[in-house]
Every structure is written in C-alpha cells, then in structure tokens.
Amino acid sequence: MKRKTNLAATVALLPTWLVAVVVFIGTMGWSIHLSFTNSTIFPSSTYVGLAQYQKLFSSAKWLASLQNVVTFGILYVGGCLLLGFLLATALDRKIRFESVFRTIFLYPYAMSFVVTGLIWQWMLNPMLGIQASVRSLGWDSFVLDWVVNRDMAIYALVLAGVWQGAGLVMVIVLSGMRGIEAEQWKAARIDGIPVWRIYLSIILPQLGPALAAAGLLLAMGVIKTYDIVVAMTNGGPGNATEVPAKFIMDNLFGRQNLGLATAGATVLVLGVLMIVAPFRYAMHMRGKKRGAR
C-alpha cells in the first residue's frame, strides 16, 4: 500500500544513496583492496597478502607515529575535557560579563588547525618567542623550546590543541549544566552541601553523556590529526611529532607507496571502530533501556 508521495522522498534521497554507496563504501573497498597488493605509484593487482601490513608495523616511523598519536590523544582529550569543564563551571557561577568570557574561550575553535599551529609555532619560537622574552626579563635559565626539542615537541602540539579545543568542551558542558533543573540546586542548598561538592557529586555524574559526546568528538579529531602537525612541526624534530594521518599522506602523495599508505589508512579505520564501537554500544543499550515499554 505504498503511495506515490513516498516515491518523491525516495527520489530525493537518490543522490545521497549514490554518495553513500559509491564514495563511502566503494572507495573504501578499493583502498582496503589496494592494501593487500604491492601497488606503488600505480595500483597493481598482484596480491601480497599481509606483506604491506608487515612492512607497516616494522617501519620505525609508523610505530613512532602510533605512539605519538596515543600520547597526544590522551593528553589532548584529557586536557580539553578538564580545562573545558573547569571553564564551564566557572562560567556557571553567575559571574559578570559571562558572554564576554565565553566568547574569549571559544574563539580559537573558529580558527583552522593551520592557523593554530602557526600561532603556537611562533609563540614557542626559542630565539624570538616566549623564551627570549622571559630571559630578557633576567631569568636567563628559562627554557621553553618545545617545538625544537625532540622530547617536548609532542607537548607543544597538545598545548596548541587544548588551546583550540577546550572552548568546545566548555560550550557542551555549559549547555548540559544549564539543562539541569534548578530545583536540584535548591535541594542541595537546603541540605547545606558545599558548592564544589555539588559540582563533583551531583552535576558531574549527570553530565556523563555530554562529556562522552565531547570526548568522542575530540577523539575522532585526534585520529584525523594532520593539519596542525604539518603547520607547526611538520612531524619533526626527527619523528617526534609524526602522526599516522601524515604518514599515510606522505606515502600516498610524496613517496608514492600506495600499498603501504592504504594499509595505514585501513589501520586508521580500525582505530576509529575501536573508539566508536564501545560508545555506540553504550548508547544502544541506554536507548534500549529507555525505549522498553
């Protein structure tokens, strides 16, 4: 008993079906296929099994980039969540000029990763940046050379990333806080619970879904991390800030090593699945519980 009006809806969705099937499924299938061949500049159809993956995981650069992205990811997501939560809490305390503060904390999020990377590259420039300024004040032993220091370069990325992303968490958390009923505050005040305790024991647990959503959003960004590295350190010094996305791009377009690049991209997709699957599962279970009737 399908009616003709539903046909219009189906037709309207056709271009999107095309994109979903051809672009999202088709190209991904081709890429995964290529990762099992010995393709270099041009696609080859000679299957080499898992050889590209073996090569990938014996590459020092790839292993370094995996380690880097994990370090960066944990510190960046954790830093954004912590700073964003603190900022949101501060703004929730009925302060003056709240919208001015909010505007200031969020503006970096409007800028591109390239711009963010370049700003902090300049701030952290050891010859002319913050380090030079502080030294000229008389503190001669002051060191802030993260962008050129092998051991510290990854933290420079974290610093720039948190600067850009904390505002996002703040907005999400703040809107979550504003959604909590005012009566809970009144009840807690009558019970004489201190403010910090209210945030920790009453507000924070209710913000779970908001924080999880923000965390997931940031984690997806971590896996895609590319622009900020290219702009700020270009992977250096040495391999100190190499990341998988950049490794893939370099092999795809610079070194023309198609098989290796697509193998890396496949691993990246698996990484996304590993991050998203538990989250989706939790959402699904919650939805089931709520939807049961």
Partner: protein
C-alpha cells in the same frame, strides 16, 4: 441509507504487532462518533487510517459511498484537526486557512469567500493577519478547526483537539464544537481519552481497548448498561463500585450473594438466562440511596471514612466488608467521617458481569 464513513474488516499491524484487529464500523451521515479509550488503544491510529495518513494492513475504508482505501488524504473529502493544532508556523492565519485551497488551485475569489465565511463563523475575522505564535491556545485551536471547515467537506476528523488546553478553555470550546456540529450537520469523528468530552459530545461512543471495540453505543447506554467490566470501570467518576460474589439460581428468583449480602435479582434485566456461578456486581455511586432501606432495597451498612464535598454534590466513601465503596449525594452534606450509614442498592440500575468480564 448510505453510510458517511464505513470501515470494513480493517486491520493495522506493524510487523507482528497488531494495533487494530478486524474492525468494522458504519458511521451515519451527520453522526457525531467519539472514539474513546486509554492511550495506546489504537484510537488515533484508526483516525489516521481514515484520514489516509496511516498505511493499513487489510480491509477497506469508504467515505461518502466511495472506496478511498488507496486514496491520498486530500482526495478523501475530509478535514482534520490535530491535537498540537499543527498550524503552519511561518504563515499568517489567512494563509493557514487558504493553503489547502491554494494547493488545490481554486480561483482566488472562491478562496477569499470561503476564508471570510469560515473566519466569521469562528470569530477569527480580526486575527487573519496574525502569525500562530501571536495567538492564544484557544485561538490557535479555532484556526485549526477553521482549516478543516474551509475545505467544505462532509467528514471532519478530530484528534484529541482539546487536550492541550486548560480546563476552562476546554469547556468553552467543547460547547463551541457541539454548536458547530448542530449548525453544520457534518459527520464528525472525534478521538479523545476524556470521558466527559465523549459523554457530552457524542451521538455514539466507540470504546476501544488494545485495538478492539469494547462497546459501540449511545452515551446513555454506555453509562447505564456497560457491556463489560472494562467499559464499566473506564466510564464514570468516581469509578463504579464492584463487589465479587456469586449467583444462586434456586427454586425462586436468582439471588446474588456476597459477604452476607443477599440481593434479589428478579428486578435485573438479564441478557441471557441466569445461571449459578461466580459474578461481579457493579453499581455506580449515584445508584446507592441513603434512605434505601425504607423502600425495601438490600442495604450495605458501613462507616464513613472520607467525605469529598464538590460544591453542588458530595462523594462519601464508606467501608463495607473490606471494600471501600463510594456514594454520591446531592446538596449539602452534614455527615462526617466515622458516622454510620446503611444505604440501599437499586438493583434495576446495577450491572452484573460474568467471569469473562462481559455483562450478564
């Protein structure tokens, strides 16, 4: 005479979940039919199916002598009023009223004539250039009704049109809808979960539960002779009193017995010849008489636990044999909690239900 709306063996199911089960109803021209039931009983689904907004699984729907089972909503000759009003937010009242006519490509003069006629009927004349957001709840609902009227069709469908309004407005608009029906003489099918709306508006009420019609009859019939325990309990406030017991058919007249109470059933209109066995006796709070013993009625002696005054009347709650029973009294009440009473039961107005819940 030809039915205005006729539903034949209608079935609606989602997968293996059945919402409407093999239903047939004939609605006469100019009839006001109310579909009444608790939420989830399928009454809105049924209305949407009549409108053509809901795909059906089996059966036929006829409107004004035409099989419209596969027709688009606009081609069924219906107008519909929704619970949330569903006014088009970015259009003025005038545009809201005329949208359907413009889509249908009616001449401009005709559209204007119809809109102004409808606006006059519903006192919307001064509101025509306002946006829905600038109207009060009652005004919005009148626009929604106007949008159905302006189509000048034979059948109007109402989907809980008053349930978003406050109590006072609800009463006012209820009267307005009744007047409208009396002056227009259209067929109206009206979905509600409010029994007061159903009892006051309907020519006939269909009470639905789990996709099955429990009783289809006039309001008086439904109130006085409920077809089963569900209908008996659903209609009436306070709820009908129920007493479990059993029927004895000895040599003389049949008797209902419970906790020492013996009720002679010779005055009860049995639908089927009485038989011995367990049964439930139901009687409304209005059918207990404080001075009943004097006229020889069986009595239910007890002690008052709560008095609920309601202005012109009062409800007394009293305890009898472990049951909390209610009794309605008109006028001022001087009785207080703790006082004893011994009301009599008018068996002619009571109902008896068998073990399967249906009326005996």
């Amino acid at each position: 005479m030809q039915s205005a709306v006729s539903i034949k063996n209608l079935k609606i199911a989602y997968g293996d979940q059945t919402v409407i089960e093999e239903m047939s109803i004939d609605i006469a021209p100019k009839e006001f039919l109310v579909l009444l039931g608790p939420s989830g009983c399928g009454k809105s689904t049924l209305l949407n199916a009549i409108a053509g907004l809901q795909d059906i699984t089996a059966g036929e729907i006829w409107i004004s002598g035409k099989n419209v089972t596969w027709e688009e909503p606009k081609d069924r000759g219906i107008g519909m009023v929704f619970q949330s009003y569903a006014l088009y937010p970015r259009m003025s009242v005038r545009k809201n009223l005329s949208f359907g006519l413009r889509v249908a490509g009616l001449p401009k003069a005709e559209i204007e004539a119809r809109v102004s006629r409808t606006a006059a009927l519903l006192h919307l004349d001064t509101l025509l250039d306002r946006r829905p957001a600038e109207l009060s709840g009652g005004q919005r609902q009148r626009v929604a009704i106007g949008r159905a009227l302006v189509r000048e069709v034979d059948v109007f469908l109402f989907d809980e049109p008053l349930s978003n309004l406050d109590a006072k407005l609800r009463n006012e608009l209820r009267v307005e809808i009744k007047k409208l029906h009396q002056s227009l003489g259209n067929t109206m099918i009206y979905v509600t979960h409010d029994q007061v709306e159903a009892l006051t508006l309907a020519d006939r009420i269909a009470i639905l539960r789990d996709g099955v019609i429990q009783q289809l009859a006039s309001p008086a019939e439904i109130y006085q002779r409920p077809a089963n325990l569900f209908v008996a309990g659903f209609i009436g406030a306070p709820m009908m009193n129920f007493i479990e017991g059993h029927i004895e058919t000895g040599d003389g007249a049949p008797v209902f017995e419970s906790h020492g109470l013996r009720v002679d059933l010779s005055g009860y209109g049995f639908r089927t010849p009485p038989a011995s066995g367990p049964a439930t006796l139901g009687f409304r709070p209005d059918h207990l008489m404080l001075d009943g013993a004097a006229s020889g009625m069986p009595t239910l002696p007890g002690r008052i636990s709560v008095v609920e005054p309601m202005g012109s009347e009062a409800v007394l709650w009293f305890d009898w044999a472990g049951h909390s029973l209610s009794l309605r009294l008109m006028g001022d009440v001087t009785l207080r909690p703790g006082d004893g009473l011994s009301p009599g039961l008018d068996i002619a107005k009571a109902s008896l239900f068998g073990t399967d819940g249906s009326r005996l």
